[in-house]
């Protein structure tokens, strides 16, 4: 009878144990059970390549869209556009803004991309996250025009391959900044 009672008690309280809150660090001399430690590397900001790809697509879509519509280099919209970039991408974008203002050029239409593919998605030594992608930039629906509205650029190949690199600004962030667009000098896989 007593055995049965104890058994019942034990079973009844086991579930209570498992539902117990996670232990808090304490200075007790006796070890307390802790939840399984996280893997020793930095927990991935993007758990899978699919997740990274979705985030990169969203970030680049926004970047192109803001780039198409950004106003003069002293406008808020320009600042917002530049704020999506860092490093050499930032320098490159800023140069273009200056050049276009000097020349009186502007963008028309929409800049598109497709076929984005993840090359790598990983934590950097400083615990920020880097995603490298390939994509096809599609300039067929956009143009660069001068004050008179005439096209100033001749694009024989409206679809061109690019490598685009994204980084998170700090280690727990999921925000992606465009950091560089290294030249793709291989054959054009987009045409």
């Amino acid at each position: 009878m007593l055995t049965a009672f104890l058994l019942l008690l034990a079973v009844g309280t086991l579930s209570g144990c498992s539902a117990a809150p996670a232990p808090t660090p304490s200075n007790t001399a006796v070890p307390v059970p802790t939840a399984t430690a996280a893997p020793t590397e930095t927990p991935p900001v993007f758990a899978s390549n699919d997740e990274a790809l979705a985030a990169a697509k969203a970030a680049y879509t926004k970047y192109l869209s803001l780039g198409d519509s950004a106003g003069a280099t002293d406008s808020d919209s320009w600042e917002e556009y530049l704020s999506l970039t860092t490093g050499t991408e930032h320098d490159g974008a800023a140069q273009v803004g200056k050049l276009m203002e000097e020349k009186g050029w502007s963008f028309t239409g929409v800049t598109l991309f497709d076929s984005m593919t993840i090359q790598s998605s990983r934590a950097l030594p400083d615990s920020t996250w880097e995603i490298r992608t390939y994509l096809c930039l599609d300039l067929s629906s956009s143009d660069t025009v001068n004050d008179a509205g005439d096209s100033v650029i001749k694009n024989d190949e409206p679809r061109s391959p690019m490598i685009v690199v994204f980084v998170t600004p700090d280690k727990n962030s999921r925000q992606l900044l465009i950091s560089e667009s290294p030249i793709w000098s291989g054959s054009n896989f987009c045409s």
Binding site: A10, L64, G67, G92, Q95, L99, E102, T117, V152, S191
Partner: protein
């Protein structure tokens, strides 16, 4: 009345001892071209970019505005293309093996997916670029293969008699540099993972493994790369990865390098402990100083 509660207590917990191996392929010689630079035609030569519609002076103007941007277009050799546009090169994709594990591929335009390739072809004819050139592993001094990052769970410790899971991070690598004096790319593809679990047990796997979560397995489940320790103690786990290498001079396609490159990863220290079941008077979470806790 004293209420008894059972708690599973792991008798020892270990500090995490793993560090992520630095893995930074060389991209130092790359130049950049943002989408907006493409749109205004100031990018350095590529095989596919358009030219300036009315004369080439804009290219120089843009270069002169690059100022302090160290990796901008200013250091790139100018080709003096003027208003003409070089004929697009034939559409040839790098012909590596897209079935290799860990190699990222790109859409090649005709429905196939082939490995990443760039065209660092020198202006002068390349004497070693012949398909007959045999490149050996010993020629790859300029292309260090980086150690694969390794991870384990639980982090840094294991329970005697239960599986601890180990896995290697993505380790396929692409490097750029001089090979036999010519600009080239070398691609390292992992072909074998040798696990030395530090207790005299070794395993060789063809895949790098993955976390329980990624494998959709319960914790402490046996995986192809897991190991079950039978002794208490501290063990050093070393992963050694065998890489096959391929090289490419420009767009001439990937060719295999003779030999195998073996790279040890940063060791992981694992402390193993026995689990035991103890009877305690209260919930040790609520009262760590309770009897039995």
């Amino acid at each position: 009345m004293v209420r008894f509660k059972l708690l599973l207590v792991i008798s020892a917990l270990a500090a995490m001892a793993l560090t992520l191996a630095p893995s930074t392929p060389s991209h130092a010689d790359l130049k950049d071209c943002t989408f907006s630079q493409k749109k205004v035609g100031v990018c350095p030569d590529g095989p596919k970019t358009g030219g300036i519609a009315n004369g080439g002076s804009v290219e120089l103007t843009a270069d002169s505005t690059s100022g302090s941007s160290g990796t901008g277009t200013s250091s790139h050799p100018r080709r003096g293309r003027g208003g003409t546009v070089a004929a697009a090169p034939p559409r040839v994709c790098a012909n590596g093996d897209p079935a290799k594990p860990g190699i990222e591929t790109i859409p090649c335009g005709n429905g196939s997916f082939l490995p990443f390739s760039r065209n660092p072809t020198a202006a002068v004819p390349c004497t070693v670029c012949s398909p007959d050139t045999i490149v050996r592993v010993s020629d790859l001094q300029d292309f260090p293969a980086h150690p694969a990052p390794t991870s384990m769970e639980p982090g840094g410790w294991a329970i005697v008699g239960l599986a601890a899971n180990f896995w290697a991070g993505p380790s396929a690598q692409l490097g750029e540099g001089l090979l036999l004096g010519q600009p080239a790319q070398v691609m390292f593809t992992p072909i074998g993972y040798h696990w030395n679990y530090g207790d005299g047990t070794t395993t060789t796997t063809t895949a790098g493994g993955a976390s329980w979560d990624n494998l959709s397995l319960a914790e402490f489940t046996t995986t192809p790369t897991s190991h079950t320790y039978v002794e208490k103690g501290t063990f050093t786990v070393v992963l050694t990865v065998d890489y096959h290498a391929d090289y490419s001079f420009g767009d001439q396609g990937w060719r295999p390098v003779e030999g195998t490159v073996t790279v040890p990863s940063t060791p992981i220290t694992v402390v193993t402990a026995r689990e035991s079941t103890v009877l305690v008077a209260e919930d040790c979470n609520a009262n760590p100083r309770g009897p039995g806790c």
